[in-house]
Assembly symmetry: C2
Homo-oligomer: 271 residues x 2
């Protein structure tokens, strides 16, 4: 599979950049920097930053120039997982087979490590070459992850732990998972200074595959949409969404091949 080689190369690029940006473990106060790094380097697939880079590429932008924005997106993702795992939220002891941040470092440090990653993402975004582009990216990210976006999804999630209905489930996933994935794509397009038409197309592409991502998660975990729609219904829905995602890529030509492959990869993943 060619996409696997592409993904591995991109993961390596993102991991090296994250390592260079994050404060060192022995920087005072050490505990917070250890916790930040522990959570960022915990075996994530780097789907979001890879989407940022592939979206930049699809718009003919300079991929190297989008690496810091891609890393900011991944830091925001790591922050959201740390806070979602807290006892007062989803109360998870393990993530990807390792103790969650609060299990390893305590709840206080975990809250602060999440806060610091969110804050550092914005600091990193303010350091790009072009202040107007930075500003637009910061706005797109903040809108996507605020109380009307990702945080709103988490609020509705913790308020509806027992058997949410399909509209509620749809709201939760569009916001909790979908908003940041859509923003990841849009940010890549902004960093390439793409025109509005392309920005909008990539935002929609991101919304479709963000939704696909969650539906496939639910099929693999036999929960959420897999219960509400049945496994076959959920699989059909995922395929329908990915087909819509592909249609959005038409205007980009062959530069969007990685984005097309990523959509198929998200649909067909087995873990």
């Amino acid at each position: 599979m060619k996409i696997t080689g592409y993904l591995k190369a991109r993961q390596k690029l993102i991991d090296a950049a994250l390592d260079s940006y994050l404060p060192a473990e022995n920087e005072y106060p050490k505990e917070i920097h250890r916790a930040m790094r522990y959570s960022v380097f915990s075996g994530g697939k780097r789907v979001r930053p890879i989407l940022t880079l592939a979206s930049c590429e699809a718009c003919g932008g300079n991929v190297k120039g989008a690496v810091s924005a891609a890393c900011a997106v991944e830091m925001v993702h790591a922050y959201s997982l740390i806070h979602d795992d807290l006892p007062a939220m989803d109360d998870d002891d393990f993530r990807r087979g390792k103790p969650t941040c609060h299990k390893k470092f305590g709840e206080g440090i975990a809250v602060l490590a999440g806060d610091a990653l969110l804050t550092y993402a914005f600091e990193l975004l303010s350091g790009g070459k072009d202040p107007a582009v930075n500003n637009e990216i910061i706005r797109a990210l903040a809108e996507a992850i605020g109380s009307n976006g990702m945080i709103g999804g988490q609020v509705v999630d913790i308020q509806n732990q027992a058997d949410p209905d399909l509209p509620t489930l749809t709201y939760i996933n569009a916001h909790k998972t979908g908003a940041l994935i859509a923003a990841s794509c849009k940010i890549g397009a902004i960093s390439a200074k793409a025109p509005g038409k392309k920005l909008d197309a990539l935002k929609r592409y991101g919304e479709y595959i963000g939704f696909t991502f969650q539906v496939v998660d639910d099929i693999l975990d036999k929960e959420g949409f897999a219960l509400a729609l049945g496994v076959d219904g959920a699989k059909k829905e995922a395929a329908r969404l990915v087909a819509k995602a592909h249609r959005e890529l038409g205007i980009f030509g062959r530069r969007a091949k990685p984005l097309g492959d990523l959509a198929d990869f998200i649909l067909n993943r087995k873990k």
Copy 2:
């Protein structure tokens, strides 16, 4: 006291702006928006945003143009109090005589309300007129409140609850309280497009009065510096810091009168 009339007028201006910026209580999902507003409108003195406006004024800038940045600073302050009050941190049930956010709304919503206020502060800052100025303000704020700033102070605070020594106490307060106050002043100067010399002078002014603020807090609460230095020693230290703050204002002439009065107000406050 003329400063009281000035403070009241500024508080009113800030409160009205915060009310106009924050999502309405009945905006879905309601609970998070109620929690955000509950914490922002809980009787704070608005010292930080007033410093932002007065710093802008001292540099000859347009005060109205700095109101949104001033509100962003206050939202960050509110976020930091919500997270500091959590059971895993300082574990406070009351703040200014009212139940803390997690006591009123539960821990999950409190964590998310803090997250949302932090996020919204950056969204608000990205909406100013001049993208280059927005970018510089975002950078100054994020640096001040990250793991090497305010969050770092909180980390060292929760790790040293029992009888910290004077250097540790100094680190905690310079970072936990001082960094955001210094940034509040610097941000006002940035919004006025002040030259580097004035930016630096106001950052130092902010550091001195940030420290004064904490020393006076400790004198009033009979803790921290009041125990380490004795009440008389702490009072002397506060007066020495305010004198240094005044000296920084020399280059601004009479436009800095409100900043001078604010320094005296912080030194002489009785609650």
